[in-house]
């Protein structure tokens, strides 16, 4: 007779001293782990709920300005330095990690319209209503600019190319400058309208996009003589931003409450329409990952969108925050800075329930697991209901309802017209925004 009875050696399963870690033996057979899917679903549900519980995006406000913020700019590399300008011509340098103003000086005698860093991050260029472009030293800030350029007309926007020493300004005419020169290298012109926003492409560093007052967006190339392409939209674009990861994608913030993402190679039709704001969208900035962007709107809210999706994933609002003027996504993809009418810059978390402190290894693994679970079960009704839910201010909610009614009415009318006409015209939502392309 051969017999063996299960006998376990206690030492194999219990730790030797209290300074050791516990011995955890695993058996990965499915028979040991019943209800896998149900437990995972429960964990996903719990993590979605916890997300909402821990969603405290507001970190703090940066006080100091004595007039509404007109521009903000972020350092090309550093994560915690930004510069902001207000309507009374004052420029302030901020350290985001300490939430303090490192220095301030009166830069212009009027409205400051544009602010940008040079690629090295050592200097800041500002332009304003007093028809000057001034260069300031950031490392040792002082009242006097390093360089001043006087222009013929008001300069409404400024942008520096990613590498090199050239920058472009816009106003009555779009001009390309080089540091050290007091005369522009080149002037671009297409049409007679003023251009109010200008941005250099971060990847294709020779390409410029500009938003003009005749509701159009113009693409310039600094290598060629003039403008390359132009697309006219139904309403004016207030701001635009290039996707730092996709070379040819830029997004515009439009007066008609939407944001449009365009592929610069095919401007005839936007690749995406991002709808969720209930008033004019005033500013937009991309995250350094290129997967998301933040938009600030006249309806006192900040919305975060995913680059490929048409609806916002998050809304930030406060009773104290009035009309937004600028938004910024920090370089480490973690913070959002918003400047608004009530003289405050606000610092927010890009992911509202993210823990900001030091995260240990096991914690990080656990958080990654939860993220993956949420992704896996995202389509289940209970989970999507909870993750979609956002607390939205009353005025936004009511306005959104009204707009929804208006949109439904338009759709219904269009459908009816098409039903009873000989040759029905179907234009999609994206096509409707574009008037003409050239």
């Amino acid at each position: 007779m051969k017999v063996k009875v299960l006998k376990r050696n206690v030492e194999d399963f219990v730790r030797e001293t209290k300074h050791d870690i516990h011995k955890i033996h695993r058996n990965y057979n499915q028979s040991e782990h019943p209800f896998e899917a149900e437990r995972e679903y429960q964990r996903a549900l719990n993590s979605v709920k916890l997300d909402k519980i821990f969603a405290k995006p507001f970190i703090g406000s940066l006080d100091g300005h004595r007039d509404s913020i007109s521009c903000v700019a972020k350092h090309p590399d550093a994560v915690s330095s930004i510069v902001s300008a207000s309507a009374d011509g004052e420029v302030r340098l901020w350290c985001l990690s300490e939430r303090k103003c490192t220095s301030t000086w009166p830069a212009h005698s009027g409205f400051i319209r544009g602010l940008t860093y040079t690629p090295a991050g050592a200097q800041v260029l500002s332009c304003g209503d007093d028809k000057t472009i001034k260069t300031w030293n950031v490392e040792s800030p002082s009242d006097t600019p390093v360089d001043t350029i006087v222009c013929k007309n008001m300069v409404t926007g400024i942008s520096h190319e990613r590498k090199g020493d050239r920058f472009a300004t816009c106003g009555e005419a779009t001009q390309l400058w080089a540091t050290g020169r007091s005369v522009p290298i080149r002037t671009f012109q297409w049409g007679v309208d003023t251009v109010h926003c200008l941005k250099f492409n971060q990847v294709e560093t020779n390409v410029l996009a500009a938003a003009a007052d005749d509701n159009s967006i113009i693409i310039y190339d600094t290598r060629e003589v003039g403008a390359v392409r132009k697309v006219v939209m139904t309403l004016r674009s207030n701001a635009l931003a290039w996707n730092p990861m996709e070379a040819f994608v830029f997004t515009t913030a439009s007066e008609d409450y939407n944001l449009y993402s365009y592929d610069m190679r095919k401007l005839g039709r936007p690749i995406n329409v991002h709808m969720d704001h209930v008033s004019a969208v005033v500013d937009i900035d991309y995250s350094p990952t290129g997967k998301e962007f933040v938009s600030g709107s006249y309806d006192k809210t900040i919305r975060l969108f995913r680059a490929m999706e048409g609806r916002s994933r998050e809304i930030y609002h406060t009773k104290r925050m009035q009309r937004l003027t600028n938004v910024l996504w920090s370089n480490d993809d973690r913070y959002i800075v918003s400047g608004s009418d009530e003289m405050c810059l606000r610092l927010w978390k890009a992911r509202a329930s993210e823990k900001l402190g030091v995260i240990k290894d096991r914690e990080r693994v656990s958080l990654q697991y939860k993220e993956k679970l949420k992704e896996k079960y995202a389509h289940h009704p209970q989970i999507s209901r909870i993750s979609r839910h956002k607390q939205v201010p009353k005025h936004v909610k009511n306005a959104a309802k009204e707009h929804a009614t208006i949109r439904q009415k338009k759709k219904r009318k269009e459908a009816n017209v098409n039903k009873f006409s000989k040759d029905p015209q179907f234009t999609d939502e994206r096509q409707k925004a574009v008037v003409e392309e050239s």
Partner: protein, 481 residues
Amino acid sequence: MGRYFIESDASAKKSQQNDTEQVFNISKSSIKKVKKKNRHKKFKAKGIEYDKKKFKGKERGSADPFPGRKPVDPAKVEKHSRGQAVDVRAVKTLIKKKDLERQEKNIELAAETAARAAEVLLPEEAGYLEGDEDQEFTGRLTQTEIKAAVDPESAAKSFDLKLQEFGPYKCDYTRNGKYLLIGGRKGHVAAFDWTSKALLCEFNAMESVHSVKWLHTHNLFAVAQKKWTYVYDNQGIEIHCVKTMNNMIQLEYLPYHFILAGSSETGNLMWLDVSMGKIIKDTYTKQGRLDVMCQNPRNAVLVCGHSNGTLTMWTPNMQIPAAKMLAHGQAVRGVTVDRSGTYLATSSVDRSIKIWDIRAFKPLHEYKVGHGASQIRFSQRNLLGVSAGNIVQIYKDPTKGEISYPYMKHDTFKTVSQIQFCPYEDVLGIGHGGGFSSILVPGSGEPNFDALEANPYQTTKQRREAEVKMLLDKISPELIT
């Protein structure tokens, strides 16, 4: 990717290699020649197929005849796989297609890794009892013989508790197999660590006790007494008296849902959420007295056997039984479902035991036994314990094929009222009219436990953490289908 290594091939290869002994004279000139020749060719050993992707780095003269990772038995990988892959060709968008492909690869890798880990990382092996040349049949071996053949520590696991005054005993083991709870019909309830015989609590409920059940840890247990169901602490302090659960005969605990389920004399099935203290469902089954009831551990469905030979399956989400099937010609007296939820064993007054495939509701095997079995139970490794009168018989692997004789047999001195296999141990606990007996059944317990599910060597801190984690993962009863 490499075929599974079969013994015969190894021997064939060895002989092949031994036949032709190749001698290499390696000189600088010969190396140069080889280099020149093979500059644009990838080196290929004769007769062996290389998986080029895996072998990318090693190009020249590798002496390894079995390149790449050790191949895993595809049957083992299949055991760990979670079902069929999604058909990626049906996806229209390219980005989503690539995403899905990557995910499917990861899932395959997970199954393969689990299969590899299963071979290497499991510390223990299952017990066995085999006859030798002169006595192949193990059914006649007594406990004394087995006790004599094993070491004294394991022999101590087989013991008898003579408790004659308090009636037939019901028993229950905790999920990790460390603590035992016994309850005698005349009211005696005791909870103790059965290996060290350290008593947790012992008291007399002063009422008839019909069933005892541990809750999620060894700190709480439920006792179905004459009128109502009581919940006690591990010190024997009465914590709750659940008046809504009245006249309970059988109690079952669903560990992942934190539900105490019970079947009553009046024909009611009740589900009580012990974490919230709320009765989730009280179903009137209209089937009469429910004294035969068990749970399906795979999907938390309650299976009841009735006196007209039918089996019904109940969930807390439906008023009517989820399934109803005719199992025997006469009354069903015992029901049990195996751990993986694939097999159902039923015993009836007509002296037969049937094994069913529970998911297809098909009968697989039928056995005729000498007398109608009153209690049947599957162990963790699919040994079937059958008790009739005062005889307990254990059958090995009744689900796989026809069994003609029992694996083991044991006689108790009084009629058996309940049998329970101890999880993760090779022990069967028998509650009978004269007390409680514990017998050794080699090969019944799962040798390797998962410490994150049930850990017999849990410390207090680990238990507390585990309790919290279990509560967080508590499955909502709506998901019982």
